[in-house]
C-alpha cells in the first residue's frame, strides 16, 4: 500500500472501502516499527489504542456517517495533552506525566473519530528549532538523516514527511510549525492567535503559542483546521469570531491579488538558493495574475530581540510550576523545600530550557523590566503596526520560511545566537498574531526542500490556504529519501 497519501486521499480510500481504518492504521504502525528507529520521530506509539480507535471509526464509516477526519491516523506533538497518554514535552521534567484531561483540540479530533497513532518528538518544551533539545528522541530529517528536521515540531514534520502518519498537529510559538514543515518538505499552518484553543497545550510563551496542522498539502491543513478551530470556553484568549470553511478558497484565483514583497526578509543571512527559490515562486504567482507590491518592515531587525525577550519572560513564569511537588520529575535530594525545587529543576530541565528561564527572569527583574520586557512590548506594537500598514495595501505577504535549508545535526546547537537569529523569518508573524502557512517551493542542489511562507491578515486562514493550494497545484513535490 502506498503510504504517501494526503488526508483527502485517505478519506476517499476509506469511504470507498479501498482500505479499512484498521488496515491503514496498521500500515502506519508497521512503517513506524520499520523506520522510526532511524528517524526517531515518535516518543510514544499508542498502537493498541490506535487500532481500537480505528475500529470505532470504521463503524462510523460503515454507517455512512464519517466526518472529514474519521479514521485518519494522526501524530500529535508531545506538548498537547492527551488524556491517559504520556505527554512529556520531550523533557525529563515530564518524563512520566500522564494528563488526566485532553487538550481541547484532542476532544475535537476525537469527536470526529480521528485515530491517534502516538506522540511525536519536539524540542524540549518547544524551545528550539532542531528537535535536538529533545530529552528523548532527537528526530532526523527524512530527506537526509544527517540533518535536523527543524523544530520545535520536528517530530510532527518528519513523521508526515516520512509517511509515518496521515497528518500531524504541531504548535508554533516563533515558527515551530512552519520551519520544520519547510525543512521536511511538507505544509504547515500557524493559525491566527486565538483561532485554535490553547487549552491543554503545555505553555511555552502564552501570547505566541498556537496549535496548527502539519500535513502533505494546504488542503489537508484546511481540513484539519476546520476540525480544530473555534471558540472554546476553556481558553480566555480563544476568539468568539465564527469559523469559516477553510477549504472554501482552494485553488484560489490569483488574478488581481496583491502580494507584498518585503525586502528585509530577503536580505543578508538568507541563502542564495533559498532566496532564488522563493522569488521564483513569487514569479509563478505573478504568472497566475497576481501583482507584486514592494513593501518594507523597518523593525524586522529588532524582531529577534523582542521575540526572545517576551517569549522567554513568559516561559520563565509558565515553567515555574515544575517544582517537583505536584507532578513531574522530583529529585531524590534531601533537604528544604528550596533544595528540593532547585534540585528537581536542575535535573529535570535541559540546557536550552534553563537558558531561556534565566533570560526571561532577567528580563522581568526589577530594574531591568523597562529596558527589556517593556521595550520589547513596545516593539511588538510597532511590528503589529507595520504589518497593518502592509495589509492596507496587500492581500498576502510571501517570505522565505527559513534563511536556509535543514542544516546538519549539531551544526548550530552550540551557538544559541546563531540559532535564534535563524528565526527572523517566522517570529514576526507570532509577534503580530497573524496566520501563516509554509509550503515547499523548491529544492536546493543537495535536494533539500526549501519553504516559503504565505502570511495573511488576521483571520484570513482561508485565503492563505487557498493561495498555497494554488501554488501546490503547479508544483511537483519530491518524496523524502527515507
Amino acid at each position: 500500500m502506498s503510504m504517501d497519501l494526503t488526508v483527502k486521499q485517505l478519506r476517499d480510500g476509506l469511504d470507498s472501502r479501498e482500505f479499512s481504518a484498521r488496515e491503514i492504521t496498521q500500515s502506519y504502525l508497521d512503517r513506524i516499527e520499520k523506520i522510526d528507529g532511524q528517524l526517531e520521530s515518535y516518543i510514544t506509539v499508542t498502537g493498541e489504542k490506535a487500532l481500537a480507535a480505528a475500529d470505532k471509526a470504521q463503524q462510523r464509516i460503515d454507517a455512512g456517517e464519517s466526518a472529514p477526519l474519521t479514521g485518519i491516523p494522526m501524530a500529535i506533538k508531545d506538548n498537547i495533552c492527551t488524556e491517559g497518554v504520556l505527554t512529556t514535552c520531550a523533557s525529563r521534567m515530564l518524563e512520566n506525566f500522564v494528563p488526566p484531561y485532553n487538550a481541547t483540540v484532542m476532544d475535537r479530533l476525537e469527536a470526529q473519530d480521528t485515530v491517534l497513532l502516538g506522540k511525536v518528538s519536539m524540542d524540549e518544551f518547544a524551545m528550539g528549532g532542531s528537535t535536538q533539545t529533545s530529552a528523548f528522541k532527537k528526530t532526523k530529517n527524512p530527506f537526509d538523516l544527517t540533518r535536523v528536521p527543524g523544530g520545535s515540531s520536528g517530530g510532527s514534520a518528519a513523521a508526515v514527511s516520512a509517511d509515518l502518519c496521515g497528518a500531524a498537529l504541531g504548535s508554533d510559538t516563533g515558527g515551530s510549525i512552519r520551519q520544520p514543515a519547510s525543512f521536511c518538505g511538507v505544509t504547515g499552518l500557524k493559525p491566527t492567535y486565538g483561532r485554535v484553543s490553547r487549552y491543554g497545550l503545555v505553555a511555552f510563551a502564552s501570547s505566541f503559542d498556537q496549535i496548527g496542522p502539519i500535513a502533505r498539502s494546504a488542503e489537508d491543513c484546511g481540513i484539519i483546521l476546520n476540525a480544530i478551530a473555534g471558540y472554546d470556553y476553556h481558553d480566555g484568549t480563544a476568539s468568539k469570531l465564527p469559523v469559516e470553511d477553510y477549504t472554501a478558497k482552494l485553488g484560489m484565483d490569483m488574478k488581481g491579488k496583491k502580494i507584498a514583497y518585503v525586502s528585509e526578509f530577503f536580505g543578508e543571512g538568507v541563502d542564495d538558493e533559498v532566496r532564488n527559490s522563493v522569488l521564483a515562486a513569487i514569479d509563478s504567482y505573478k504568472a497566475m495574475g497576481a501583482q507584486v507590491v514592494e513593501c518594507s518592515m523597518p523593525s524586522l531587525k529588532y524582531a529577534i530581540a523582542a521575540y526572545y525577550l517576551i517569549a522567554s519572560a513568559e516561559a520563565s513564569s509558565n515553567l515555574a510550576r515544575y517544582d517537583g511537588i505536584k507532578y513531574g520529575h522530583r529529585s531524590e535530594v534531601e533537604g528544604s523545600y528550596n533544595d528540593l525545587v532547585i534540585a528537581s529543576r536542575s535535573e529535570g530541565f535541559g540546557d536550552e530550557v534553563k537558558r531561556r528561564i534565566l533570560l526571561g527572569n532577567y528580563a522581568l527583574s526589577s530594574g531591568y523590566y523597562d529596558a527589556y520586557y517593556g521595550k520589547a512590548m513596545g516593539l511588538r506594537q510597532r511590528i503589529r503596526e507595520e504589518y497593518a500598514g502592509i495589509f492596507e495595501k496587500c492581500d498576502l505577504i510571501i517570505t522565505p520560511t527559513a534563511p536556509s535549508v535543514a542544516y546538519g545535526i549539531n551544526e548550530n546547537i552550540h551557538d544559541p545566537r546563531k540559532m535564534y537569529q535563524a528565526d527572523f523569518c517566522t517570529v514576526t508573524v507570532n509577534i503580530a498574531s497573524l496566520p501563516a502557512i509554509s509550503t515547499t517551493c523548491g529544492y536546493n542542489a543537495d535536494g533539500m526542500p526549501i519553504g516559503m511562507s504565505i502570511v495573511g491578515n488576521m483571520w484570513k486562514e482561508a485565503d492563505i490556504i487557498g493561495a498555497a493550494d494554488a501554488f501546490e497545484k503547479t508544483f511537483v513535490r519530491r518524496s523524502a529519501a527515507l
Binding site: Y101, G200, D235, G236, S317, A320, R321, K326, S365, Y369
Partner: protein, 482 residues
C-alpha cells in the same frame, strides 16, 4: 516615650469574595471540604491548563468598590506575581498591579476614644482582585508538610489604604467598617475565624514635629480584629523603644505571634521578593461600559447608613438601631421578623434584649439558630397582645433557642395562654374585697399605695384567665365605684 511619636498606620486588607465558584475555574469556592476535593487541573496548575475569569467575582469586586465609595477602573489588567511556594501550584499568583479593578476612594469611620466620639475618613488607594493560595498542613509527627489546594483560586480582594490611621483603635474600626460594608454589599461574609478577612499591617512612627513619615515595618497576615489591634500596639511600643534609644527602625517584614503578643522579623528589605510582575497573557483585559457599571451599582443592596436612617424613621432609638445595623445577621433577622409582625420597637427590644443576651452568652449560634424569624415575630406578637405574659415569653423563647419549636404550641403545652374571662375577674375582685376589708377601707380613705397589694392578690388568683392590664382596669373601676 510613646507620647513623643505619632503612629502612622496603613492596612492591606485581604477579603475573600463569597462567590459560589473560584475566580479562574468552576470549582466550589466554599470554605472547608475534605483536603484536595475542591480542586481541578486548572486551580492545581496542571500543564496546559488555562484560567477563565469568573464574571461574578469581577462584579463582586466592583460592588465592593462601590460599597467603599471608590472609583471603578473601566479597564483593568491581570498580572502574574511570580514566586515559589508549595501552596502556590502555578508558582505565580494572578493579581493586579498597575491597572486594578477599583480606584481610590474614602471610607468614613466613627469611633470612641477616651470617651469622646470621633469621626474620620480613611482614604483607600485602590482595591485589586486576585486569587488565594492553598494551605500547608504540617505533619510534625512524620516531619512532612502536605498541600491542600482547596483554597487555591478562591477570589480575594485586597483593599489597600493610605497611611491615614493614627491609632490601633482607628485601624480596628476601619476593618470593622469595611467588613460591615462588604457584608451588606453581599460580596463577602468577612468571617475572621475562617480567614475570609485578614490584613497586612504597616506601622511607622514619626516625631510630633516631623514632616516626613518614619521607616515602616510590615506585619503580614494578621487574622483577627483583636490581633490587628494588638499588633499595632506592640509595634508602636517596639519602635518607640528603638527610637528613644536613638536607633533606627529597620524596614522589614514581620509576623505577629498571637500567643506571645509580639511581632518577629521575617525578612529584611534586602531579602524582599522580586515578584517579576508582568501582564498575564492568558487573560484578556477586563473592560466595563457605563451601562455595565450602572447595572452593578444598581444591584447594590441597602447599605448600613441607609438602613440606619430607615430604622430611625421607624422610631427606633439611635442606640438600639445601631446595635442592630452593626450586625448584618441580626439586622437581616430583624427585617425578616418585620415581615411577619410590623412592630419595630417591640421586636428591637426583644432582639436587643433577650436574643442578644443569649447570643453573647454563647447559648445561640446566630448563624444557625434553632428558631425562625417568623417564630420569634409571632412570640413577640403574643407577648405584646397579652396572649402570654412577658415573663412567660422569655421562658418560651428559652425553649425555642435550646430545642426549637413553635411558640404557640409551647405556650399551650405549658398552659401559658391567657384567656380573659371578665366574669371571673369580677368574682375574684369581689372575693378579695370580702377577704380583705382592711386594705379596701385604707384605699377608700385615700391611701392609694395599697392598690398594688390588692392587685397582687387578684393577679395571684387570676393567673391564666386575665392579663394584669385587664385586672388593673377592672380593679380601678371597682375601687372608684366604692
Amino acid at each position: 516615650m510613646i507620647s513623643d511619636y505619632i503612629p502612622v498606620i496603613g492596612l492591606e486588607i485581604h477579603c475573600e469574595l463569597s462567590t459560589n465558584s473560584k475566580v479562574f475555574c468552576t470549582c466550589s469556592a466554599e470554605f472547608g471540604g475534605d483536603r484536595n476535593t475542591r480542586c481541578c487541573p486548572v486551580c492545581c496548575g496542571m500543564p496546559g491548563t488555562l484560567p477563565i475569569i469568573n464574571q461574578t467575582a469581577v462584579e463582586y469586586a466592583v460592588r465592593a468598590g462601590y460599597a467603599l465609595n471608590c472609583g471603578i477602573n473601566k479597564f483593568s489588567v491581570f498580572d502574574r506575581k511570580n514566586y515559589f511556594y508549595p501552596d502556590l501550584p502555578k508558582a505565580y499568583q494572578i493579581s493586579e498591579l498597575n491597572f486594578p479593578i477599583v480606584l481610590a476612594g474614602e471610607v468614613p469611620i466613627e469611633y470612641e476614644e477616651n470617651g469622646e466620639k470621633k469621626k474620620k475618613s480613611i482614604r483607600i488607594n485602590h482595591i485589586h482582585l486576585e486569587e488565594d493560595a492553598g494551605k500547608l498542613v504540617h505533619d510534625d509527627l512524620n516531619g512532612v508538610s502536605l498541600c491542600d489546594y482547596n483554597r487555591c483560586g478562591v477570589p480575594l480582594i485586597e483593599i489597600v489604604t493610605e497611611p491615614d490611621m493614627r491609632s490601633p483603635e482607628e485601624a480596628r474600626k476601619l476593618v470593622e467598617t469595611i467588613a460591615l460594608q462588604l457584608q451588606y454589599a453581599g460580596v463577602s461574609d468577612c468571617k475572621m475565624e475562617e480567614g475570609s478577612i485578614r490584613a497586612d499591617v504597616n506601622v511607622s512612627l514619626m516625631r510630633k514635629d516631623a514632616t516626613e513619615f518614619g521607616t515602616r515595618a510590615e506585619i503580614k497576615n494578621v487574622n483577627s480584629l483583636k490581633s490587628i489591634y494588638r499588633t499595632i500596639e506592640y509595634e508602636i511600643k517596639r519602635q518607640a523603644q528603638i527610637l528613644d534609644r536613638g536607633g533606627e527602625v529597620v524596614q522589614e517584614t514581620r509576623r505577629f505571634d498571637a500567643n506571645k503578643g509580639e511581632t518577629k522579623a521575617m525578612r529584611s528589605k534586602e531579602d524582599a521578593h522580586d515578584y517579576k510582575y508582568f501582564p498575564d497573557p492568558d487573560i484578556l483585559q477586563v473592560n466595563f461600559t457605563d451601562e455595565d457599571l450602572e447595572r452593578i451599582k444598581a444591584s447594590l443592596p441597602e447599605m448600613p447608613a441607609q438602613r440606619r436612617e430607615r430604622y430611625l424613621s421607624m422610631g427606633i432609638p439611635e442606640k438600639e438601631a445601631m446595635v442592630i445595623v452593626n450586625d448584618k445577621v441580626i439586622s437581616d433577622f430583624f427585617e425578616d421578623c418585620m415581615k411577619v409582625y410590623n412592630n419595630p420597637k417591640s421586636l428591637v427590644n426583644f432582639i436587643n434584649g433577650e436574643i442578644m443576651r443569649r447570643i453573647n452568652l454563647g447559648e445561640i449560634d446566630k448563624d444557625a439558630p434553632k428558631y425562625t424569624a417568623a417564630q420569634v415575630a409571632h412570640l413577640v406578637e403574643m407577648s405584646e397582645t397579652d396572649k402570654v405574659s412577658k415573663n412567660d415569653a422569655k421562658t418560651i423563647f428559652r425553649e425555642m433557642a435550646e430545642k426549637g419549636g413553635d411558640p404557640e404550641e409551647i405556650a399551650k403545652r405549658e398552659g401559658m395562654i391567657i384567656v380573659v374571662d371578665t366574669t371571673r375577674v369580677h368574682e375574684v375582685i369581689d372575693a378579695v374585697f370580702a377577704a380583705n376589708p382592711g386594705p379596701v377601707e385604707q384605699y377608700k380613705n385615700g391611701d392609694k399605695k395599697v392598690f398594688g397589694f390588692i392587685m397582687g392578690l387578684c393577679n395571684k388568683e387570676l393567673r391564666g384567665s386575665a392579663t394584669p392590664k385587664v385586672v388593673k382596669e377592672e380593679l380601678e373601676k371597682r375601687l372608684a365605684a366604692l
